[in-house]
Amino acid sequence: MRRTLAFALLLLVADPDLVRGQAQSLPQPHGEIILTVTGNIEHKNSEAGAIFDRAMLEALGTQKLRTSSDWTDGTVEFEGVPARAVMAAVGARGTTLIASALNDYQVEIPISDFENYPVLFALKMDGHELTVRDRGPIWIVYPRDDFPELRNEKVNSRWVWQLSGLTVE
C-alpha cells in the first residue's frame, strides 16, 4: 500500500500531464464499455466505478510490445495501454487485482507486476483491433521475451484475454 503510494507520488512528480489529467475527473464513455474497474479506486465515473470505452483507454496513451506467446504463432506485435497508466487513471489503492474475462475466467494479479514490468492492456495485435472472437477486446500481455522470469505457467495464467473487469483490492 505504502509502496503504491510512493509509486504514485513518484509518477505525480515525474509526469506533469498525468498530474493535470488526474486533476480532472474521469470522462464519460461514449462508445461500448469494454472495461469496468471497481474496488478500492479514487477516481470513478459511474456508480459501479470507473468505466472505459476503447477511446478512453486509447486516450491514456498507447505503447507497442513485441513478444511471443503460447497462444500465438511466433512473435507478434501488441499495441495497447500500459497497465500502470490505467491504474493511475483510476487511482488504484491496493496491492491485488482480480481480473475477470467475458468467458467468466478470473485470476488474481499483483499490482506490483505492473510496477516491475511494462505490462500492456493490449487492444491491437499485429495492427488489427482485437475482437471477442480473437481474445479481444482487451488482452493482458506480459513482456515475456524481455524478461525470462515471466516465462512460466503462473504468469501465463495472468495473460487474461477478453478482459472485461478489474477489481482493486
Binding site: W71, D73, L102, N103, V132, R133, D134, R135, Q162
Partner: protein, 715 residues
C-alpha cells in the same frame, strides 16, 4: 567379482589382475551415471508434459466450449421469449467463436487435433458458426421461430462437443496415466540405476580401500625388505671389510670384474690396477713354476672349483708375497658360465712362519744330534719317539729305526730293564729324576759311566705325555775326577786343563830347573795364644788365600800348605822362560800384599802379621807319587831344602825376604833389563846354610811400605 580372495603376498600380480575389474566398474559407473542423467532428463520432460497438460487444461478448454455453446443456446432461447438483447446473443456467439478458435489455434489446437475426431468436431462447429453468422446478425428480439431455427441447428453441436469433452478428458486421463506410468517406470529405472551406481561405487570404494591397505602393507613389506637388504648388505660389507682375505670375481673371459678394497691394504695395489686382467697376466717374470700355472689354467678353463692355488706376486714396494686363492665357478640360470667368485689371502707370513718352523725344527734336530750326549724322548708307552745320533752310535743303531721300540729292545738286558724301571717311576710320579751316575757296559764290552736325568713332558691335563732322557758319558770324567780335583788345588786354573788332558806326561818322572818359594807367618804361635782359635784360623785362611792368588798370578804351582806356611814352585810341571823372574816377582808381591794387609789390620785395630819368604832356583825332581785313582804330584830335591833354609834365615837377617844369588842371577839372565827384575833386592853377602857344605851369597829385601791402595782401604 572374485576379488575377495586376493592376498597381499600375491603382490604386483593381484593389482595387475584387478585392472579389468576397475575398467568394468568404471564403465558401469559411467553407464549408470549417464543412464541416471538420461532418466532425469526423461523425468523432467514427463513432468513438463504433465505440467503443460495442467497449465493448459485441454479438457477445461473443451468443456468451456461446450458451456459457451449452452450459454449461446440459452441466450437464443431468451431472445425468442424477448427477454434478451440481440447483442447478448452476438456476444455469446462471439465468445463461442472465440472458444472454437482457441481450440483450433496454437498449442491447444495442435494437441486437440491429435485427439481422434475432435478436430472434425471443432472444424465442423466452426463451419456451422460461419454459416450461421448472417442469421445471427439478423436476429431480432421476439422472433422466436427464427431464433429457434438457429438454436436448433446449434443444438446439434452440443452432444458432439460433449462427446469431444469426454474424449478429451479420456485422452487427458490416458495421457496422465501414461505419464504416471512412464514416470513410475523412469523412477524405477532411476532407482535401479541408483542402486547399481551405489553398488558399483561401494565396490569401487571397497576395492580402493583394499588396494590402499595392500599398498600400505606392500610398502611396509617393501620397506622391511629394503631395510633387511640394507642390513644384509652391510653385514656382507662388514664381513668383507673385517676379513683379512680379499674377495674377487672374474668374468667369462677369466678377467677380473671385481676385487675388494682389502687388496690395497695387502699389496698396495688398487682394484683398478688388476681389473680387466686375467690372473695369469699378473704372473711374475721370475715365477718359473710352469706346472703350477698350467694346472691352474686347466682347472679354470674346465670351470672346476679352484682350491689352494698359491702363486707369488710383488707388491708396490717390490716385496715378494705369496697369495693363496680359492674360487668357485658360477653360472646363470641357463647353465652358462659367468665366471668365478672367490677369496684370496696373503699367505706370505704363513709360508715364512712355516718355513721358519721347518728351519727351526731342522736346527733343533741338528743341535740335538750335535750334542755329545744321549738325548731321547719316549712316549707314555715307553717307546722311543726320538733318539739323537750320539745315542744311536752308542747303541750301534740308526736313529730312525728306534722309533716305536722299547729301551729293552735297544739297550737290552740289565741296563734296558733298569732304564725302563726309571721311566716307569717318572711316569707314575710325574716328577723328574735328577742327574745321577749310572753304569753301563756297551756292546763292545766297554764299561761306561752315564750321568743321566729324566724329565716328564706333561700334556694340558697334567698327565705325562713324553719322557725326556739326557745322559752324559762320564766314563772319561770319572777317571780323572779325583786327580782333577787334586790338581785344581795346586795348579793355577789355566794349567789344570792342560795337565788333566795330558796326564801321561805327569806320570813320567823327570828333572829340570825350577824356582822354589817358601812363605810362612812369623810368630803364629803368638796368635794362637792371644786370639780365639776361630780368629787364628781365619787369619791363616786369609793368608793362604791371599798368597795362593799371588802364586797363581805368576803362573806358579802351589805345591802344598805346610801348617801356617806354604810352598810354591815356578816352572813345574813344565819349565817356562821366566820361572826365576816369576819367583822373584811372587816374593816381592807377597811382601807387598802383607804390608797392605797389615795397613788394613792396623786400621781395624788388629795385630800385624809378619811374613818370612825364602826362594831359590835350581834343579828339582818331578813325579807322580799317587796310585791310579789318586794323582799325587811331587817336587823333590836339594833346591827345595835350600829354599826352606833361606826362609828360616829371614829371622836372623831381620828382613821379610831372603833369596839365593842363583835365583837373582837366573832372573837377570831371563830378562832384558836385569836391574829391573831384581829391583828391591840387595846383596847381603855370603852366609853359611845349615846342613850345607858350602856357604851361599844371599840377597834380601826390606819390608815395603803399604801401597796407597792398601792404605785407602779402611773398612
Amino acid at each position: 567379482m572374485g576379488l575377495a580372495a586376493q592376498r597381499v603376498d600375491c603382490g604386483v600380480s593381484s593389482i595387475r589382475g584387478k585392472r579389468p575389474t576397475y575398467l568394468v566398474l568404471a564403465a558401469a559407473l559411467v553407464i549408470f551415471i549417464a543412464s541416471l542423467a538420461n532418466t532425469g532428463l526423461r523425468l523432467i520432460r514427463i513432468d513438463r508434459d504433465i505440467a503443460e497438460g495442467f497449465g493448459e487444461n485441454l479438457v477445461w478448454t473443451v468443456v468451456q466450449g461446450e458451456i459457451e455453446l449452452l450459454r449461446l443456446l440459452d441466450a437464443l432461447d431468451r431472445l425468442g421469449s424477448e427477454t434478451a438483447e440481440p447483442q447478448e446473443v452476438i456476444r455469446r456467439y462471439d465468445l463461442f467463436w472465440s472458444r472454437l478458435r482457441i481450440m483450433q489455434e496454437g498449442e491447444v489446437g495442435a494437441r486437440l487435433a491429435a485427439i481422434k475426431r475432435i478436430g472434425d468436431t471443432v472444424s465442423s462447429a466452426a463451419a456451422l458458426l460461419t454459416e450461421l453468422e448472417p442469421e445471427i446478425s439478423a436476429l431480432v428480439p421476439g422472433d422466436s421461430s427464427r431464433a429457434e431455427q438457429v438454436r436448433e441447428r446449434l443444438r446439434q453441436l452440443q452432444p458432439r462437443l460433449h462427446d469431444a469433452s469426454v474424449w478429451t478428458a479420456q485422452a487427458e486421463l490416458d495421457r496422465s496415466a501414461a505419464h504416471a506410468q512412464s514416470r513410475r517406470e523412469v523412477l524405477f529405472e532411476a532407482l535401479l540405476y541408483l542402486i547399481g551406481l551405489f553398488v558399483a561405487a561401494l565396490l569401487l570404494v571397497g576395492l580402493l580401500i583394499r588396494e590402499l591397505r595392500q599398498t600400505r602393507q606392500l610398502t611396509q613389506l617393501a620397506r622391511l625388505a629394503e631395510a633387511e637388504a640394507k642390513r644384509s648388505e652391510q653385514r656382507f660389507r662388514d664381513v668383507v671389510d673385517a676379513a683379512s682375505d680379499w674377495i674377487w670375481e672374474t668374468g667369462p673371459d677369466h678377467c677380473f670384474t671385481f676385487i675388494s678394497e682389502q687388496l690395497a691394504a695387502l699389496s698396495g695395489e688398487k682394484p683398478e690396477d688388476v681389473l680387466g686382467k686375467a690372473r695369469w697376466q699378473l704372473r711374475l717374470p721370475d715365477d718359473l713354476d710352469d706346472s703350477n700355472w698350467s694346472k691352474y689354467r686347466a682347472a679354470v678353463e674346465a670351470h672346476e672349483p679352484i682350491r689352494n692355488f698359491v702363486f707369488p706376486y710383488r707388491d708396490r714396494k717390490g716385496r715378494r708375497h705369496f697369495s693363496r686363492v680359492h674360487g668357485k665357478p658360477f653360472f646363470d640360470t641357463d647353465g652358462r658360465f659367468l665366471g668365478y667368485r672367490g677369496t684370496g689371502r696373503d699367505i706370505t707370513a704363513e709360508l715364512e712362519a712355516a718355513q721358519e718352523i721347518a728351519e727351526s725344527r731342522k736346527l733343533l734336530r741338528a743341535v740335538i744330534n750335535a750334542v755329545p750326549a744321549v738325548i731321547n724322548v719316549k712316549d707314555s708307552q715307553l717307546r722311543y719317539v726320538l733318539m739323537n745320533e750320539f745315542e744311536a752310535q752308542v747303541y750301534g743303531v740308526a736313529a730312525e729305526e728306534v722309533i716305536g721300540k722299547s729301551s729293552v729292545e735297544i739297550a737290552g738286558g740289565v741296563f734296558g730293564e733298569e732304564s725302563r724301571e726309571l721311566d716307569r717311576r717318572v711316569l707314575a710320579t710325574g716328577r723328574p729324576l735328577p742327574f745321577a751316575e749310572r753304569e753301563f757296559t756297551d756292546r763292545h764290552g766297554v764299561r761306561r759311566f752315564w750321568w743321566s736325568a729324566k724329565k716328564p713332558l706333561l700334556d694340558e691335563a697334567g698327565a705325562v705325555r713324553y719322557i725326556v732322557t739326557a745322559a752324559l758319558d762320564i766314563t772319561q770324567l770319572k777317571a780323572t775326577e779325583r786327580a782333577r780335583s787334586n790338581l785344581s788345588r795346586y795348579f793355577s786354573p789355566n794349567m789344570v786343563d792342560v795337565l788333566a788332558g795330558a796326564d801321561e806326561a805327569l806320570r813320567t818322572v823327570r828333572s829340570h830347573d825350577a824356582g822354589i818359594l817358601f812363605a810362612d807367618i812369623i810368630g803364629f804361635s803368638q796368635f794362637t795364644t792371644t786370639e780365639r782359635p776361630e780368629q787364628a784360623f781365619a787369619v791363616i785362611r786369609e793368608f793362604h788365600a791371599r798368597m795362593a792368588r799371588i802364586v797363581f798370578r805368576f803362573e806358579g804351582t802351589l805345591d802344598k800348605y805346610i801348617g801356617d806356611g806354604l810352598m810354591a814352585s815356578f816352572g813345574t810341571p813344565r819349565p817356562g822362560r821366566l820361572d826365576a823372574t816369576h819367583t822373584i816377582q811372587c816374593a816381592r808381591a807377597m811382601a807387598q800384599e802383607i804390608a797392605d794387609w797389615n795397613a788394613e789390620r792396623v786400621a781395624r785395630g788388629q795385630h800385624q802379621v809378619r811374613i818370612a819368604i825364602g826362594a831359590h832356583y835350581g834343579p828339582v825332581l818331578l813325579g807322580d807319587i799317587g796310585d791310579e785313582r789318586r794323582l799325587e804330584f811331587a817336587v823333590l830335591g836339594e833346591t827345595v831344602n835350600i829354599a826352606s833354609r833361606l826362609e828360616g834365615m829371614t829371622r836372623q837377617l831381620r828382613v821379610p825376604v831372603v833369596v839365593s844369588d842363583a835365583l837373582i842371577q837366573m832372573a837377570r839372565r831371563e830378562s832384558e833389563d836385569g836391574a829391573l827384575a831384581i829391583g828391591g833386592f840387595a846383596n847381603a853377602g855370603v852366609h853359611s846354610i845349615r846342613g850345607m857344605a858350602t856357604p851361599l851369597v844371599v840377597w834380601v829385601m826390606e819390608e815395603p811400605a803399604p801401597t796407597e791402595a792398601g792404605l785407602a782401604l779402611p773398612r
